[in-house]
């Protein structure tokens, strides 16, 4: 019952967020309407960070308690990490083409986000290649903890690599201050994305639980 309410609220917030992004917020002074992709791009990366946090908590919880429920939470969040990071990369690419004139550039944030995507893709790969479920859960938990430790280190190293190695040729044009209406539209979308994440994660968690039950029943 609770998840259904959460799903409804998420759908409603997404609609409101979409309306705010296209109707309420003004077009950007420099970039025009292209800038509106930020209302998807920024919430999705923030949601991906939330998801990474959930993977970390689930991983530690599993190693601590050995309860499969923690592992299932980490698994659900791990899939959504990859999903939301992919949305970030794709929307960033779509925005980059008209703004920077290229789909891809080795900008610091792009590079570190791409690495993050690869690491959590490897996380899902690890889950799928280990046959024994208990062993898969343990390995995935270790990788989930290591991944969360690595994310900030990668972030800083890639940033310095761009700034110390050679000056960035294309800097992201940053408005000194953001219009309050834009900020509000962004806040609504962040809330909508986090709610959607919570909804999808709980559904996936439930599905994983049912799968595990069906497995144990089939063996009996």
């Amino acid at each position: 019952m609770g998840t259904r309410v959460l799903g409804g609220v998420s759908a409603l917030l997404l609609l409101v967020g979409l309306a705010a992004a296209f109707g309420y917020a003004p077009p950007d002074a420099v970039q025009g309407n292209v800038q509106r992709i930020m209302y998807i791009h920024v919430p999705s990366i923030l949601t991906a960070y939330v998801a990474i946090g959930v993977v970390l908590v689930g991983s530690i919880g599993y190693l601590w308690t050995r309860r499969p429920a923690w592992d299932r939470a980490a698994a659900a969040a791990g899939e959504l990490t990859v999903c939301f990071t992919a949305i970030t990369l794709v929307t960033g690419s779509i925005w980059g083409k008209p703004t920077w004139g290229t789909w891809w550039t080795w900008d610091a944030r792009l590079t570190s986000t791409a690495l993050l995507f690869v690491i959590y893709l490897a996380y899902l790969l690890l889950r799928s290649v280990v046959d024994d479920p208990e062993r898969a859960a343990t390995y995935a938990a270790v990788l989930g903890i290591f991944g969360a430790l690595d994310v900030p280190i990668i972030h800083f190293s890639v940033q310095w690599w761009r700034t110390l190695h050679q000056p960035a040729t294309v800097l992201r044009p940053q408005a000194p201050t953001m219009d309050p209406t834009m900020l509000l539209a962004l806040a609504v979308n962040v809330l909508a994305f986090v709610c959607t994440f919570a909804y999808l994660a709980t559904r996936r968690y439930r599905l994983l639980t049912l799968e595990a039950e069906a497995q144990s029943r089939a063996w009996r």
Partner: protein, 229 residues
């Protein structure tokens, strides 16, 4: 305080065992050094005889070679443990598994360092470059970079040792993880080769040492779970 002494003794026992196995079998260290020198030939053939071109790419070439040879070395070390059922013995060994982890990290680090020394010397000779004044600093960078690499690598190699397709999976898991090590080590190597002072690259030293500390500690804490899974 018997605990730290026992811990150190355990790490030392594993390190000693790995080195003795290496010395008796020899094929591991020899093949690794041979592979590294072979990479030198390949780099030279791929980049052409232009000295300046090789010199400007040298720091990147060093660390690409170290990482690639390192993946091979890690895979071989865990294969040895698997084939002779040594892993079971390690699981049965009483006490803290962190010491075992530390010993294995040290063993692989020593092996890789031997390969890296051969590589650096061979580079200087074959490419006819005057690397010698930078060698002490290069060795220090090699130690710090290799510890970071093996800290993550030992754990991942132990995980993938049990899996099918482990030869492909180990680099897939490991290489994106050690990107900070690659970036920091390449930048520090560049600075050392150019004869820069220590000041400008201090931040990279901090990053590299930070990576080493974080992942050695994380590895010590989690190795037990991986070993017993």
């Amino acid at each position: 305080m018997a605990a730290p002494a026992a811990f150190a003794r355990r790490a030392w026992a594993v390190l000693w065992k790995d080195l003795v196995v290496e010395r008796r079998a020899k094929e591991g260290a020899n093949a690794l050094a041979f592979f590294a020198v072979l990479l030198l030939f390949l780099f030279y053939l791929a980049l052409g005889p232009d000295r300046e071109r090789i010199r400007s790419a040298l720091a990147g070439l060093f660390w690409l070679a170290f990482l690639l040879a390192g993946v091979l070395g890690l895979g071989r070390a865990s294969a040895l443990e698997r084939e002779n059922d040594c892993l079971d013995a390690l699981v049965l060994a009483p006490g803290d598994k962190g010491g075992i982890y530390l010993g294995k990290v040290a063993g692989t680090t020593v092996l890789m360092l031997a390969m890296e020394v051969v590589f650096i010397v061979a580079t200087g000779l074959l490419y006819n470059l005057d690397l010698w004044p930078a060698v002490p600093r290069l060795l220090l960078i090699a130690v710090c970079g290799t510890v970071g690499f093996t800290a993550v690598g030992t754990l991942f190699a132990t995980m993938t040792a049990q899996l099918r397709a482990r030869e492909v999976l180990l680099p897939v898991f490991l290489l994106p993880f050690v990107v900070p090590v690659l970036l920091a080590a390449v930048r520090l190597t560049e600075a050392a080769l150019a004869g820069e002072g220590w000041g400008p690259s201090a931040a990279w030293w901090q990053l590299l040492l930070g990576f080493d500390v974080v992942f050695v500690v994380a590895g010590m804490l989690t190795f037990e779970f991986v070993l017993e899974a």
